[in-house]
Symmetry: C2
Subunit: 342 residues, 2 copies
């Protein structure tokens, strides 16, 4: 029998909490025998949903946490003071080695802070980047870092490139992923101070497939597999993509049903349109991993439903089976050896 | 008779040069009696197009410039060495006071460098930002700065906010425009070092309608009229918007004609879809102005056609008639007085 992966699922803090969280967990354990899920949160509500489901009881355990960190709570204060919140209780279980990973739809800032403070960074990792999988015209790409650690240094970006490469290759399954640095032009001399300093470091970096600068315009076309950038820029890029695509789709749908004739047409194009828009659905890849920690922390969308929850749980399993943290450690070890030899 | 506005049009460097440039100029002078256009570039080709047009001859003059700066030329070197290029010749005419503004579809970097070096910044202006008008779900917004002046300081961003406000109010016609700073969260304490330093300065800035942070996600919905940001971030935002919208539209069009049934539907929705997508067409606002110079420099798209050219020429006229630079000067004068009084 293969090794069990244990995941803590934060049932609170999402738009569809706890219902969709619980059903996502149920669907996950029904599909995978070697998965064990701790569902953390207000146990009364969780159990009410669970009781209505059929599933292998030995693969799910409910852990009581009476408090809930909401999107209105200030991250640092929340993590420091709300000891009985589902997030703090859950992250501590990863810290203590009771679980391999943590999945939450809750307050992003609190997840980022909690991941770093409670679970802790791996030795040698300077920063833990948030690296969402972003759908493109050509598949998916990893955008690293979109977190809250703004004003990064070149050495941080180099680590992001390495961790992102490993993740993309071994969790998402892209061979020899193309790594690019987000820039405002294709030429090496372009960019701000951070990019100009980082570019040569990435160029001489062994073990990654660095292809140079990537312009934001080409990112949605899948120009790179791993786009490396500082968190402020990454966050702006990600939010721009999310805002525009939801806005455009809304506007197009409105336009399609504006007249009686177009409404008939809309009915005829609907199945194809749905199929097209589905290619931009990243929920099948799970959530955004926070990399470089002593365990995997995954942020899923606030409005995540059962499918994204299930896939995020599987994501932790793949992360563990592929020994991603061991691979990151090996890489860093290799790096420090290289430095010593120089 | 009202005062004449004189504009230099760079006929070279665009995908449709010189044909669409020339026809744009012809259409412009046919509509406005008080507009005079110098068309600069390889005069043989320009005249060949002009000869086939009917227009008031006294409103257009062709200026010979045998060289052309292409998108492959390094901006600084090109501006310094290609004295006979249409861009250098044209920008110098603005510098010498022969024209009020300059419109070009050419090499963006060269326009930015040339504007600053040849036309020159107004006294008191620290940086000249590139401020494109971006279509949103709700109209248009100004995104300032999207240029090449990366790594800005807080005082630069404050000037951008002021100049952007004046432009949006008096050229685009938005009353009391809402100004926001691009940020990764809505709260004042969010952001990188630059944003945190700039936020309080904008808050206490008199004469602008500062409404706080704007998240990139809300920008496409028209959350602000003027979005202030450092050029690297602005450029990434702009390019992300351009890349994703063109990609999405392409993908949707492909999807619509994927099956026989959807193709019939597509024919029925086509007029409405066209109308919807037209709301995202910013060409009617002309090009992206480079603000804070001794004259208006406007960058139009490399693939600009006659309509965008015409509207960019009108844009220079409005800029002059509305005395934008005088308004900017007044503001700065007011600002230095305020500082003295403190």
């Amino acid at each position: 029998m293969s090794e069990i992966t244990r995941v803590v699922l934060d049932a609170m803090g999402g738009d569809h909490s706890p219902g969709e969280m619980v059903i996502g967990a149920v669907n996950a354990v029904k599909e995978k025998k070697d998965l064990f899920v701790y569902i953390v949160g207000k146990s009364k509500g969780i159990k009410e949903v669970l009781e209505k489901q059929e599933y292998p009881k030995e693969q799910i355990e409910v852990v009581e946490a009476p408090d809930e960190i909401t999107c209105h709570d200030a991250p640092v204060t929340a993590i420091r003071t709300m000891k009985n919140s589902s997030m703090v209780v859950g992250l501590k279980m990863v810290k203590e080695g009771k679980a391999d990973g943590f999945v939450s739809p809750g307050n992003s800032g609190a997840i980022l802070v909690g991941g770093q403070v409670l679970v802790g960074r791996m030795k040698g990792i300077e920063r833990a980047p948030l690296a969402p999988i972003v759908p493109t015209m050509d598949g998916v790409s990893l955008l690293i870092d979109c977190g809250a650690n703004v004003d990064a240094r070149p050495s941080h970006l180099v680590q992001f490139a390495k961790m992102g490469s490993i993740y993309m290759e071994h969790v998402v399954g892209v061979k020899n992923p193309r790594v690019g640095i987000v820039n405002i032009g294709a030429e090496e001399e372009k960019g701000n101070a951070l990019v100009k300093e980082t570019f040569p470091l990435l160029k001489e970096c062994s073990g990654i497939n660095f292809i140079g600068s990537v312009e934001a315009r080409d990112f949605p076309y899948g120009a790179v597999d791993v786009a490396v950038t500082e968190a402020f820029v990454g966050n702006v890029m990600l939010k721009t993509l999310e805002g525009l695509s939801s806005g455009l789709v809304k506007k197009i749908k409105e336009g399609l049903t504006a007249t009686p004739v177009s409404t008939i047409g809309a009915a005829l194009v609907k199945p194809q349109l749905k199929k097209t828009l589905k290619t931009f659905d990243a929920t099948e890849y799970g959530g955004a991993p926070l990399l470089g920690l002593n365990g995997l922390v995954v942020k899923i969308h606030g409005n995540a439903t059962r499918k994204e929850v299930k896939n995020a749980l599987f994501q932790v399993e793949t992360f563990k089976k592929q020994e991603i943290n061991e691979k990151i450690k090996d890489y860093l070890l290799h790096e420090s050896k290289e430095k010593e030899e120089k």
